[in-house]
């Protein structure tokens, strides 16, 4: 799955690009939900949310987020809490980087 995220190289249309700040803001909110699910052992919800991120992040111009989300989905499906937490931290770092990139 991660390879398909990376393959999405065709330029993102301006209409989609204009939605990026709102999209990232919604991800920031959802990241809190993921963290909360991890702290309450709701691993299936984490898997479901990661699956959704994997499915749309690259389309909005953030393939890196999609790649990490795919790995998080796999870790959550394997019920690997340690790996899931580590990948959620990666997701947060990638999200912050994406925010900084669109501000430039």
């Amino acid at each position: 799955m991660s390879s398909s995220s990376n393959k999405l190289k065709l330029e993102i249309e301006p209409e989609i690009r204009a939605m990026a700040p709102d999209y990232l803001a919604r991800r920031k909110q959802e990241l809190l939900v993921i963290k909360n699910c991890l702290s309450t052992n709701k691993i299936d919800e984490v898997r479901q949310l990661a699956h959704q991120w994997k499915g749309h992040a690259a389309s909005f111009g953030f393939p890196e987020l999609g790649t990490i989300a795919a790995r998080l989905e796999a870790a959550a499906a394997a019920r690997d809490m340690v790996q899931s937490k580590a990948l959620t931290d990666d997701l947060e770092r990638s999200l912050d980087a994406a925010f900084r990139a669109i501000l430039v």
């Binding site: 398909s4 249309e13 209409e15 959704q52 499915g55 749309h56 389309s59």
Partner: protein
């Protein structure tokens, strides 16, 4: 305007779909299978194309696809599966159930639009081919010659005005589906025409008159519109036939 029904539970995917297709299509949305079945159960609400996610909150999109294919009026509806569960097994199952295409998430909005356009073009060509041999009951239509006939051998030309001809084509093409007055207006008068809805009733009434004796019935469905269906010929009473001969 072509109508697309997106059965999709992910808000962000829906944002992408709407953005990709924008004002080119009339996009309706159902967040789960149950709502989708309710919408698709209404014949006058049928879309021209379905975008179907596999993982729906109330079940499997592929099961829904398999159910839809058992419905006579939905057998030929073009379906594009759009899913993040893009493994070979799901793709093969989707195609074997009659999906026209499978788009893996993440998708590029431009590619989504291109694939939808391609599917709709193909569906339209297939529809045009079908139009060449339209028939219902003992009424048949020759699109090329713009003639409607009743009977088989010999065929009798029914003298119709161009609008009546277009109305008859639309009704027969709908294959028993109810068409709203708005849909009939669009077919017979063209898009963007403003005519009083009741004008349809007048033309339908004339059409019925001209098809009197043919083995079809144009039925008014209160509050919904019109549909055409074939009727079986009444059994011939031998006694009556002999009396008529005498």
């Amino acid at each position: 305007m072509k109508r697309i029904l997106a059965i999709e539970d992910c808000d962000e995917s829906l944002v992408l779909i709407r953005s990709a297709l924008g004002p080119l299509y009339d996009i309706k949305h159902c967040p789960n299978g149950q709502e989708a079945r309710a919408v698709l159960g209404n014949a006058s609400d049928h879309p021209d194309l379905l975008l179907l996610d596999i993982s729906l909150p109330d079940g499997d999109g592929l099961k829904l696809l398999s159910l839809l294919r058992t419905e006579d009026l939905l057998k030929e509806l073009p379906v594009i599966v759009v899913s993040g569960h893009a493994d070979i097994a799901n793709k093969v199952t989707a195609f074997s159930l009659g999906a026209e295409d499978f788009i893996a998430k993440p998708f590029h909005p431009t590619e989504l639009r291109a694939r939808i356009e391609a599917r709709l073009r193909r569906a339209e060509l297939a529809q045009q081919a079908k139009l060449q041999q339209l028939s219902c009951g003992n009424v048949s239509i020759d699109i090329e010659r713009q003639h409607a006939y009743t009977g088989q051998d010999p065929r009798v030309v029914v003298d119709l005005t161009p609008k009546e001809f277009r109305l008859l084509c639309a009704l027969i093409r709908a294959n028993g589906r109810i068409l709203t007055r708005e849909q009939l207006l669009q077919d017979a008068w063209g898009e963007g025409t403003h005519v009083v809805d009741r004008a349809i009733d007048t033309h339908i009434s004339r059409l019925r008159g001209k098809l009197r004796g043919a083995l079809v019935q144009i039925e008014a469905v209160p509050g919904q519109g019109y549909r055409i269906c074939a009727i079986t010929p009444e059994p011939v009473d031998e006694q009556q036939q002999q009396q008529a001969k005498a």
